[in-house]
Symmetry: C2
């Protein structure tokens, strides 16, 4: 095991009717907040009403910054920072999916500096403090509610960049599974793929030959995500399955599963971010295309780990014609198909002729994330495996 520091200070308040807590929790940090949200789904689902009512009861004044879109964009973050500065807010409340929470985090960090917030993303500046951020996730996916990461897209540069910094942990996150009841099947599935992808990145990119504890925790979460996602797709209002899916997604990228693994990479995210940046497709949909391709590419190099994965995640191998490695990749791919996710570039209407362009875009992020082992050629090769 590698040395690590594990310190996740986020206070998670989980369960039914917990959103009513937000006023009391926020009051600890001030009386004047920026409320960040998306295109209005929280109004339709009444989550908005619950938040505003609780804040009002705690005499907290709200400045709104709505309109976050999926694959959140830098200019919208910049406008939020300007609003936060003008109104001298004490804290940022983000109510929505990963895009909203990441926008909230970026505003919280950008509001306390004079320079452009993008400098954080291109590693020109480092975060030393942020406004307190309080999250109310409405999607089980990114884990942003319990981690120190954020991702934003610079549309002008076609760059979807992300990074982690310990100041980016939300102070409080309120997870009410009923807030995810209205998430449609496609986004429910994309969310599950996103959560699984975080685990797969760690599972397969650690250079440790021996990580029994982390492996078991990750396998347990993957199995739980699969089981509960299936349940949720059958019964979208099944509280326990929604709750399990939500908690798994939070834990998957909370620092718990990667602790002790040493340096890990995010190659699948690196490539997917380019798909999202160039074609504005949902992150999870891009991932379900990239994951099988990346695993196929790694089949030889990661045979031992893939065999373990396959045996523990898909133990009921019927066929004697397939080896465990291929079987595991096939089964995972099939599972993506079963839950309605795309698994090829064609499925997301991306032309194979674009592969060099996508690879070139991914390379830029690979540089920031220091993944020199991924060249134009290797990325193109992976993308060709998804055609």
């Amino acid at each position: 095991m590698r040395n690590f520091v594990f310190h996740n200070p986020t206070k998670v308040i989980f369960g039914r009717d917990t959103i009513a807590e937000i006023g009391r929790q926020t009051a600890v940090y001030g009386k004047n907040v920026l409320l960040v949200y998306g295109k209005g789904s929280i109004k339709r689902s009444h989550v908005y009403n619950q938040v505003v009512k609780s804040l009002a009861a705690a005499s907290i004044s709200i400045t709104e910054h709505p309109g976050v879109r999926s694959n959140p964009v830098l200019n919208h973050v910049r406008r939020g920072i300007a609003v936060a500065k003008t109104n001298r807010v004490d804290a940022v409340i983000a109510v929505g999916g990963g895009s909203v929470m990441d926008t909230g985090k970026a505003i919280g960090a950008g509001a306390l500096v004079e320079h452009d917030v993008w400098k954080f993303f291109i590693a020109k500046k480092s975060i030393t403090k942020t406004l307190p951020v309080i999250c109310v996730p409405t999607l089980a996916a990114s884990g942003s509610e319990m981690n120190s990461a954020m991702v934003v897209t610079n549309v002008e540069k076609n760059q979807k960049f992300g990074f982690a910094n310990r100041h980016l942990y939300p102070k409080v996150s309120i997870l009410d599974p009923t807030a995810t009841f209205s998430v449609p099947p496609d986004y429910t599935a994309y969310g599950a793929v996103d959560a699984i992808s975080h685990l797969l990145e760690f599972y397969f990119t650690t250079r440790l030959p021996f990580s029994p504890v982390q492996d078991r925790l990750m396998e347990g979460l993957i199995l739980s995500i699969m089981q509960n996602c299936e349940q949720v797709l059958l019964k979208p209002h099944d509280y326990n399955s929604r709750a399990s899916l939500m908690w798994c997604a939070s834990l998957a990228l909370s620092g718990l599963t990667a602790a002790g693994l040493g340096k890990v990479g995010f190659p699948m995210h690196m490539i997917e971010h380019s798909l999202s940046a160039l074609y504005d497709i949902p992150h999870g949909a891009g991932l379900s295309v990239i994951i099988p391709a990346w695993l196929r590419c790694q089949a030889e190099q990661e045979a031992v780990k893939l065999e373990q994965f396959s045996k523990r995640i898909f133990p009921k191998r019927q066929s004697i014609c397939t080896d465990w490695v291929s079987y595991g990749i096939e089964q995972l791919t099939q599972w993506f198909v079963n839950i309605g996710c795309p698994v090829t570039l064609k499925d997301i209407e991306v032309e194979t002729a674009d592969i060099p362009l996508i690879a070139a875009n991914a390379l830029a992020l690979g540089k920031i994330w220091r993944m020199p082992e991924y060249t134009q050629e290797t990325i193109e090769a992976i993308l060709r495996l998804s055609t």
Copy 2:
């Protein structure tokens, strides 16, 4: 899933040569500390030297309070509180096993109140603040280094009582697996049993019929503890196995595994505490006697959960003569035997004639812990299953 708050604020610094960090970490909290430790094993293993050297380098003055014994006693805690008060220490540093850490926590809580510290344990007073506590565990067992619980024995009353309070999380815990290299085989095994017992208490006492995430996490930790304990007994200086065992023990009782399970009980601990209180046997040795008996007693009532446990922990059932429930209990018991742990009262030289006395003692703790379903008769019945 039940509603829960998950907020574990302990900063865990994990790995080789991390003890040298203690000076810098402690300096945040003050310049005058109480150093709590046991009978001197930390001096033989050089952990003491590392701690003292690092504290000296950070210009931190130390008052020592050594002599904590296994099953730590109230009077020694009281003396520590007096020393802490007299010396107006800013923080408590606990270097040792669960007994030392719990003593450190009790001193940290008792030093800030005028009343006797025992009142916390009998629920007459509630903790509202404590001195900062910094832990350096030297045993993979209690998880005290990353949780909000403590246990102390009142020798006069033959009462070994414990409880949890959110102020009892250590501020920082430094986990260097090499500090456990010198733990002898018996205590290594007792530690593994202790860590497993925490998981079993949650696994089998939750009243939730559906806890897929928590079950998977707990099963993963149990499998890892078993695998790594076996490795450590073969090779006591195997860093990765010691590290895995240590991290599992910390996570087992960190709040992670019980989050969402609702009300859980500690019936096995309730009974074991009486064995420790009356006969001063190591906690883990008492647990390996009580666990099989308690599981046998629950075989019918918990058949579904026991079958799941058995299938996932001991999937290689050879015999077709045994049902999964009995098989799982047998295998776990046999595993305790394999790692050198006692599994009957006879093994720990406790007379069956004492059963009523032990049960009566356990009842007193059952009252404090509010477990009215355990009567003199039911506890005696469980104890008879361990003869």
